[in-house]
């Protein structure tokens, strides 16, 4: 039986202010990506 490989994905947040708050508590930095749907 083949092992199923889970596809990973980036856990993008949708709120910049929530991301900033999370960065403050974790010590990580926010990566903010503006995109235009194609």
């Amino acid at each position: 039986m083949a092992t199923r490989v889970e596809e990973r994905s980036i856990p993008w947040m949708a709120s910049v202010d929530d991301a900033i708050a999370q960065a403050k508590t974790t010590g990580k930095l926010v990566l903010l990506d503006f995109f235009s749907p194609t």
Partner: protein
């Protein structure tokens, strides 16, 4: 496609809280105005107060994106005076992506980081000598040549 690449995801997972904003939505207008967003791709690195520490525009293929992101994270940590973390990011660029477009910038600021951490002028001069030797035909080699 850049984001499906595991090595890109690993860098984001390790160092970042990722957030995406769809610039075509009415609900995004306040954020678009707050960051003076004008063109995609448009990437910003912010600290825990929302202050912008690094920014770039334009598509980059996966390895170039990874190197640019690490160089940006290095710059962010340097500006926060977190010298160990900055040095680790720059070393990662230079070790894993030595031919990337961001590598000369990483070499330049790796030297600045070493100097700011130690106060030793030789740390700066040694790093910049490497820059001139390894990346001579680059903007960053010009920037270190101030005499």
């Amino acid at each position: 496609m850049t984001y499906p690449q595991v090595f890109v995801q690993d860098i984001i997972d390790a160092y970042c809280i990722p957030v995406q904003v769809n610039n075509s939505l009415d609900a995004s207008k306040p954020i678009v105005e707050r960051f003076r967003h004008i063109w995609t791709p448009d990437l910003h690195i912010l600290d825990g107060s929302g202050f912008e520490l690094y920014h770039w525009n334009g598509y980059l293929p996966p390895a170039e994106f990874a190197a640019r992101l690490l160089a940006g994270l290095g710059q962010a940590r340097l500006r926060l005076q977190q010298f160990e973390e900055a040095a680790a990011c720059y070393a990662d660029v230079l070790h894993r992506f030595p031919t990337a477009l961001a590598a000369p910038e990483a070499q330049y600021f790796a030297a600045v980081t070493a100097y700011r951490k130690s106060g030793e002028a030789n740390a700066l001069l040694h790093g910049w000598h490497e820059l001139e030797k390894v990346y001579p035909q680059t903007e960053w080699a010009v920037k270190q040549n101030f005499d």
